[in-house]
Subunit: 351 residues, 4 copies
């Protein structure tokens, strides 16, 4: 067997369910160029039969893949090594349990993130039809769950707001530095609303808009609180507010906390640097991050400002990459024993 | 009767059919502050019962008007002086013929612009159900038809692309200065696609897009050719190409012509200045116009560049104002004997 | 004397110092159409001699005014009734004291807002050369200082961030409803940085940017705290964070407070409605405001969300209108005995 | 010697002159991840000493490179294999002649594109100080000059507008299909104006702007005409008009030609497909291309529309990639015997 053949044989055979949305588009953008993966299957019921490059015209000429209908017999997918579920909330729970045991699964929806069925029902406005499988999922925030992810067969990929917020809070909660309520003022670009046109993403208005939505009640809130309890002694109140930005990509979270003792930004920065010393994709920056510098990348940029016991953490990601597809691939890398950076050395442009 | 009462009595009682779209929104923005008009009726079947300020939140607090269903008995609207039809193509032809003779009508749709029924059917992809009324309509390009509009009961307001193009070509055609084909490279902002969300106005993609659409076949083309024949001896070929801009408002037309003799930009400018000497809303500018300077206004800015017999006319308007609602009000002013500028001294911002 | 002549005679003769920046541009856009005012003088040293319409091309054709050098002999300006100072920080203090006593003055800069010279020096990084005049100025937040403004000769117009923040907090502070620290997460459009090109307003980057700046230390903070003390018993800590939005116009402040007792959004809304019952330009909205609905207008839109004792106030303005030139004209109206809405019934577009 | 060591030894040692601008930023974004190249030197006199990631924050954490002053002794650079000159016009002519003969040179400026010194002087407004070297340069439009580029030591990389225009016209001119004048209506994003803030790229205005500039006289015009003469029998008149788009990246050229005989879009498409049968980076698309689909990539997307003898070619590129740094790397690949796609399999996002 020659070395080229060998290399191909070791490629991860990937299936993507729900390839026509923005999450699927990003998975394809990343995985088609991933040196250790090969996309074998990509489903999109409404686009079945069309070529990937016809639907995602950014990929035109870069792949011969075609969308197919989601297979009825999921057990037959045993030739796959890894399945990404980039389906709307509520659909992953119908697919994941039927996939062969030999297949690793990374679910980008919210279906398996919450460990409490009642909390799930309230957050997502629906009952869960496969909750018995939830406990088998590891929450896929790579930077806090790296070791568990390496061993996982089932990973539930975090929500975009949750990723930005948790990466901004985890070092402080893990070190038990906080007192009092925490306020997260989070802002997202329009791609966070998905590929389907809607009133709130109608260009003539959105381009001049900024507004808040779902005050206190965004479905990522319970996920954030659950994971903060997992990293430390989280008992405080979380005020979480989501806003809409007139850009396509990017989440920026301004996180307002009180520290138990006075702390300078430099001191806080050391806490973060220590917590993230092995986290390639978290970049600590002077002053404020800017979504311009993380767009199209898997980075989370974090900056800090402090005055007395008031500490503000600024956390910026690309909602579709570190907030979705990029982190999913980062998790796949770990689950298959690869360097987590494989296929993710993506740099956005300066302008 | 005191003078204040008198002034009120002379206000034009206006009805607007189709007030929930962008054309209707702009009519309301202008007419609610028009010193000689009063909006008595505004219809929007899907929004009936809602206040205008709830639907057009830019007008919240500025009016107590509510949307109503379009009345069944149109003959009963004889208390109105003027009706604006801001309905989708195909609906104005059902309303206009039934309005009382005492009511003046300004139709913003394409239903009554074309004097040839076959051309209409081809351009709009539908048959005409009231074509016998078409000849009663005056084409409402104010700057070329001012005297006829003053005497008209029925005015068919020009399309947005047609307005920008005709104002850029009329002086040249009227003076019989052209030879050879004319190429119009026209670009429009996203509000030109209307208030309903659609794939081509989905913010995440539109904000980074520029593309051409409907090559050669935009429905404004026959309207442009018809009116060029009306102002002069137009026999040449028109190549008309529409493109989409990632702004909300604005049309910019780059019009490429050959003049019979060599002409400098200054010489051409004199032709335009002479043709538009009474046209307050046409501003001749040095160099290029910029849609930034006409946004929110009723101005058409025109600039010129020349080399030998090659002349380029740049024409910029706000598609919703001079390209729709503003010009409609300009026509109303003339039809009711007012200064055409009344209620239209609108300045956009610098930034 | 006929009535038309009389009306003209009673027009306020206005001078604008610093007419070439964005504040000046907006003053001109509003005042050129103000029925009770007449712009007699507009200075801009670098643009002296140029027509206003050449510099602010949105006003081309709407005025014959020309920019002049700032006069050396300010005492000679006694033919003016009102002077607006739209000068950079530090320059108003050189002009205001020398203006004739007969002239009313509205200063849009920060020079006379702060009643403590040391606080001023720290906030603006310069000493004050005319601090003895500061106590003569009334702080021009119309909605809280209306009666004092009516009687004032000198008004110091609020900063843009201060306007949005104070209007969001004043009802709560005046009614002594708050406990604990207050967090203001404020975002501004790029026009807030002025008309001069700079790295942070360079289009290729700004269009995809969102970032924080001047954490804790924005120069509007002391102004906000000073005025909160003026309206109520303000002793709490203010965490104020400014961010940059990729739009041209608009400020959106998300204001996080704790109320002494639990309060629903409806209950809080009643407090606001009562406080602003005479404030035409404050609009209470359901849910969140949106900068899209206040752009180009003098409105401040306020929305509320509550959970237990957590209350969030959303406040949205156009930074150049209610945050600068519009509020300045609103104050002028009051100072000259006019309805505060005169010349300010400005509606922005829907798209 | 093991194979890994060998591969490293064969990496192209690259130097970049002028690394702080947008052209330099893109070269770095591409070359830092190029499997067969290694950036050994990057100059930027004003940023000397700073790390690349501090200036181009999109690259923060991805490289340890630092900017250095341009070396005085250029002959000493013989350890380099390839130098990219991303300097302002006029500076490359001072550097290129002094580089060692062993070093291959790719100049991204306009200094060595024009083979006529007088034409150069007129287009660039300066005399040439090293014109005797010009004839040694091969014009680097990869798709038309591939074989010559493979053998070249000196390549002059095309201008961005020239690239989009030439790729749209070359197949037609090479096949001698055209008659009559050609009109190019070209539009560019703001990054084309470079990294230095200026009035025309000031965000508050640019975001709502569209305007024409440099009518007839853009410096890329002579370059286009020279190369059209190189590919075929070009004797016609070129009307070239440049416009500014409110996006960061992208050039879209609408090219209006008359064909000698009638031609359908499909027939024309076959001409293009044949001409570009080996051109991976030219993608023929149905209907219109969209700059959204080429952003961040090295693709040129071409679409066609026809009516009778009227043919319109739409050509879209990313001005910084295929219009500058990407094409430069494509040329480097050929000059060093690599597949031209190496390091350039860049996909932009869908949104």
């Amino acid at each position: 067997m020659d070395s080229k053949r060998e290399a191909q044989d070791t490629k991860i055979r990937v299936g993507i369910f729900g390839g026509s949305g923005y999450g699927g588009a990003e998975l394809l953008r990343i995985l088609l160029f991933h040196p250790r993966a090969e996309v074998s299957l990509v489903t999109a019921n409404e686009q079945a039969g069309k070529s990937v490059g016809e639907v995602h015209r950014n990929l035109y000429g870069l792949t011969d893949l075609r969308f197919v209908h989601a297979p009825q017999e999921l057990e037959s997918l045993s030739d796959l090594d890894c399945v990404f579920l980039a389906l709307p909330h509520g659909q992953a729970m119908e697919v994941a349990p039927s996939l062969p045991e030999s297949v690793k699964v990374i679910d980008l929806s919210g279906d398996f993130r919450l460990s409490d069925a009642e909390v799930f029902a309230e957050a997502y406005g629906r009952g869960h039809t496969a909750f018995e499988f939830q406990s088998g999922f590891v929450y896929g925030l790579t930077e806090t769950n790296r070791e568990r992810i390496k061993r996982a067969r089932l990973v539930s990929n975090p929500g975009c707001f949750a990723t930005a917020t948790l990466l901004g809070l985890a070092p402080l909660v893990a070190n038990n530095l906080l007192s009092g309520r925490v306020i997260v003022d989070a802002k997202t670009g329009s791609s966070g609303s998905g590929a389907k046109p809607a009133a709130n993403t109608h260009h003539p208005q959105r381009m001049n808009s900024f507004y808040a939505y779902k005050p206190f009640t965004h479905q990522h809130v319970p996920e954030i609180e659950q994971e903060l309890r997992a990293v430390g002694d989280w008992t405080t109140e979380l005020v979480f507010m989501t806003h809409s930005l007139p850009v396509s990509r990017g989440i920026f979270a301004s996180i307002y906390v009180e520290t138990k003792d006075e702390m300078t930004a430099d001191e806080a920065s050391k806490v973060f640097a220590d917590f993230y010393r092995e986290a390639f994709f978290v970049r600590l920056v002077k002053g404020s991050p800017d979504i311009n510098w993380v767009k199209m990348t898997n980075f989370c940029d974090i900056g800090l400002a402090a005055r007395g016991r008031q500490l503000v953490v600024f956390s910026a990601i690309d909602n579709l990459v570190k907030g979705a597809a990029g982190q999913a691939v980062q998790n796949m890398n770990l689950m298959f024993g690869h360097d987590e950076r494989t296929g993710l050395m993506l740099a956005g442009g300066n302008p």
